[in-house]
Subunit: 368 residues, 2 copies
Amino acid sequence: MKSKRCAFLIFLAVLIVSRNALAESTNALHVTFPDERLTVSGLYWFGEDKPVLRRLPARLKDTFRPPVWGLAQSPSGGRIRFRTDSLSLVVVAQNPDASTMHHMTSVGQNGLDLYVDGHYIASAWPNKEAKIRADWRLGGEKKIRDVTIYLPLYKGITISEIILATDAKIESPSPFVLPKPVVYYGSSITQGGCAENPGLSYQSIVSRRLNLDHVNLGFSGNGMGEPAIAQALAEIDAAAYVLDYWANPSVEVYRDTLPIFVDILRAKHSKTPILLTGPFYFSKERVDSALAAKQDEKRKIARDFVEARRKAGDENISFVDGSEMLSSEQVEGLVDGVHGNSLGFYFCANGLEPHLRKALGLGPALKK
Amino acid sequence: MKSKRCAFLIFLAVLIVSRNALAESTNALHVTFPDERLTVSGLYWFGEDKPVLRRLPARLKDTFRPPVWGLAQSPSGGRIRFRTDSLSLVVVAQNPDASTMHHMTSVGQNGLDLYVDGHYIASAWPNKEAKIRADWRLGGEKKIRDVTIYLPLYKGITISEIILATDAKIESPSPFVLPKPVVYYGSSITQGGCAENPGLSYQSIVSRRLNLDHVNLGFSGNGMGEPAIAQALAEIDAAAYVLDYWANPSVEVYRDTLPIFVDILRAKHSKTPILLTGPFYFSKERVDSALAAKQDEKRKIARDFVEARRKAGDENISFVDGSEMLSSEQVEGLVDGVHGNSLGFYFCANGLEPHLRKALGLGPALKK
């Protein structure tokens, strides 16, 4: 009897110790966020505003309309990157709330994606109290791996700490193929609505493929092409600008803002490639001729604008036909007739990839 | 002054009348559900259990484990189909609640997708009271169109009525390429977890492509290969059976249930094609060798089982390597490391398509 009871007590002790062993061990390596060993990518002004994970700088807050500033609190495109030989990783984080929209998952709207050496591994999402505790395995054998944690697409987040194995090395992440990021400006679609995962905005998909850094300045319902945002974009020394803001403005506002927006960028960056996307296909264009006409007008505006600028001597601006990103035959890629779903953003990445390759001089894709 | 006031009153009157004109007009064609003019597809026993939109028959309720019966209340794969020349369509429906899981959208879990002539057009989702009121345009000019309404993947639904234009024709939907449905049995993944849209389970995607009918008998966490479900499947005169239940059972249960399950089908359907899928790739296999080993064991069990049956003379059973549905290079298609997202189900449909074509004698796909 005694030995049985003893065995049970040992079993119980092992159980208690092993439960969340890494997270609760005082020997684990607790890295309070922010920490210079953890690289934050995609949030261009993080350096001046840390620890806040935000997409626009506090310094310019008063120049933005309040909804734009509100949306900037969602760190879409933001990533925490480092290399480590730890076999496990805990992330302790908090959203302001755990709400979701009807066309987004909590994973994508509020949560985190883990990629190891460029491969998706796992995700995390908040509990009802909006607390996130990701508890991830990074590998089986001890070796240095590249870790990328994608931040939420549509909700703010505060990272408290990252916990690694006691003796873990932390090194700088592997470099991108270009030192400068590609900067995207646009609407909810640009912001990543409605990918199911933080790492599935079209920019994240195409950036992983090409090993590029990127900055996501899509603002849901508020990509109106206003000069204040153009001024902010112009602060960024970009590898390229992708202006993807066809969805929110009226036809007239779109037509009127394009020249001003591009002039502001060109005043500081005369040669940086600018890609202007035209509208992709809304499924309701098939049944609503007024909507189709409006979309077509914007397509023509974007195409004509680029053509005129090129004729006027700007060789570094180019047009991306939106139907290459999501065509009338790819409407399964829409979650609500308007916003991309995870499949739609895969289509968008496929369509944008050759244009980005050309603009950035990366050469054509290898045929699979 | 008087004429101004008059104009305003006319404007007001037009505004009031036009608001939800179709839905509220007593002249509109209100079709209470069910109605024999509205074809229900994908819910094989609807005929005996109507008006309940459910995946298993009440007659056999006592033969199923309670969780299986509970999950059968979610009409994944169910569709309401008809042809009409109405230019608009209202669907009035109700879910038992409007809750969502962390890895599903309300659209996909609770909502509806509208396809017109095979093209996705729009979606609907419940409000906080779990009421759905879809208000859709079907086209611009009056002509007969095929309408398909996809039902929720992971929640029950009651349809109250469908409202069309007053003088609308309602006709039988266009026929499928085969009169019998393809019947799928499996896990949460099979049930459609976690597509963002009701029409984006892999079965729905591949069925649209091939113009096939299908029955979805995936049961989240409960695709355990039990004989009671095999008996239910055997009631269906299927074009083919796809046994996709590798995810839920242990290695041992998977090995032990396969022969019994297939024997039950074969007792009634000696020649019907049976496709047995092996495990697709879980992203955590990359970092968890124990998980990878378990998946590999199931892969071997499925492959060996089919090989043995074919050697024993069953020419109509075939193996589908899960890595053709979602490979180690397609892990972006997972929402949480386990379940497909909308992109993942697109990959699954791509992988399954050639196997289905072969089994059903549909010929190879045209190269795009």
